[in-house]
């Protein structure tokens, strides 16, 4: 996933993802593979009013963003979609930094160089 947006007022990955999607990704990076039902159970503890539909749509949105992949699990409990992470948290953060620095370098080359060398000296 190529981050397209950076919110200066938000912390952590919420700066590049909407809040609920960021929370789902935090959980997914912990468990690596989960069903929408498992993610719903986790999210319900934090947001009691959340609905299954919300989680399902957000999981699919994360698939569209390329952060999760969807496959079918033929387990003993029947068939169900399982979602797995496509990138580790570290890889994702590296991409965010890379993308932002690339954008800064192409838009404000001199100022970015100057600032980077100044903070390096500090």
């Amino acid at each position: 996933m190529e981050p397209q947006e950076f919110k200066l007022t938000e912390e952590g990955i919420k700066a590049v993802l909407p809040p609920l999607e960021a929370e789902i990704m935090e959980y997914m990076w912990k468990v690596r593979v989960a069903t929408a039902g498992e993610v719903y159970d986790y999210m319900k503890t934090k947001h009691p009013e959340i609905r299954r539909s919300t989680v399902s749509i957000l999981m699919n949105r994360l698939c569209e963003r390329g952060l999760l992949s969807r496959s079918i699990d033929h387990g003993r409990g029947g068939m169900r979609y399982v979602y797995s992470i496509t990138t580790t948290r570290e890889e994702f953060e590296e991409k965010v930094v890379q993308r932002i620095l690339d954008a800064l370098m192409s838009n404000f080359r001199e100022a970015t160089y100057a600032y980077l060398s100044r903070i390096r000296k500090e």
Partner: protein, 270 residues
């Protein structure tokens, strides 16, 4: 009343072009049916028998609903699709896997009961026929013009087609209500159908909102005009709707549940 504009169309064909017109119209309808039948074949590519797709507890509930409906020969399939959806054809019911992500077991059973209503009411035979008739009615005005070179015949034909569309919309909406009524009588918990419809409505509304959101570029504080919500003309505005709204269906279920609980109360008093 869907048959009235159809009968008038046949009469119009006879008046304007005689037996030749009727013959050509018959051939057109036969072709529509053959093409329609062929296009409906192999409808379920990524389907799996439901017994392999759901846990035993849900399988048991579905079997019990089939028995109560006296439709044990109906096959239920799970479709590999993450978008929640359910439909029926012939004596088959198809539930997408996405449905299992957002509905609980009772709600899934309610959706199956609704589809069983369509099968019991013979909608799985009637709906394709109505679809073929629709194509036939749409093609008749230009065909009349070609056959007769009478402009008035084409105009009258087009008016009859619009009337047919209106009647078709009313007819299909009524069939949805009838399938709901059947499901309500079949279910242990009739309100589970209401819960399922509410969840599906919520899903559709939310999905439409999420879809509208475009990914902005690196410019966090400026609101882009392109991100503002647009209201588009959707097909439902342009054509006659074939399904009642979720709200209409939910209200009817609530009325049914109220009447059921009232009659239960009366029975207890007696």
């Amino acid at each position: 009343m869907i048959s009235v504009p159809l009968a008038l169309m046949i009469l119009l064909v006879y008046i304007s072009s005689g037996y030749i017109g009727l013959g050509v119209a018959g051939v057109l309808f036969a072709c529509t049916m053959i093409i329609g039948k062929l296009s409906l074949q192999g409808k379920c590519h990524k389907c799996h028998p439901i017994t392999r797709a759901v846990p035993e507890s849900l399988g048991e509930k579905l079997r019990s609903v089939l028995e109560r409906a006296n439709l044990e020969d109906v096959e239920i399939y799970a479709l590999e699709d993450y978008i929640p959806n359910a439909y029926s054809y012939d004596k088959n019911i198809v539930l997408s896997l996405g449905l299992f992500e957002i509905l609980d077991d009772d709600e899934i059973t309610a959706v199956v009961a609704h589809e069983l209503g369509h099968i019991k009411n013979k909608d799985t035979l009637i709906f394709p026929l109505v679809a073929y008739l629709r194509v036939f009615m749409f093609l008749m005005p230009p065909l009349l013009l070609i056959l007769t070179w009478k402009f008035w015949a084409a105009v009258v034909g087009f008016v009859l087609y619009l009337w047919f569309e209106f009647e078709r919309s009313r007819f299909l909406r009524e069939r949805e209500f009838k399938a709901d009524d059947f499901a309500l009588r079949l279910l242990d918990r009739p309100l589970s159908l209401k819960a399922a419809l509410e969840e599906l409505k919520y899903y559709e509304d939310l999905r439409a909102k999420v879809k509208d959101q475009t990914l902005p570029g690196i410019d966090p504080t400026i609101e882009r005009p392109s991100q503002k919500e647009h209201t588009y003309w959707r097909p439902s505005f342009l054509m006659f709707p074939t399904h009642p709204t979720y709200e209409e269906r939910i209200v009817r279920i609530m009325v049914y549940a109220d009447i059921s609980s009232l009659s239960e109360e009366v029975r207890r008093w007696e």
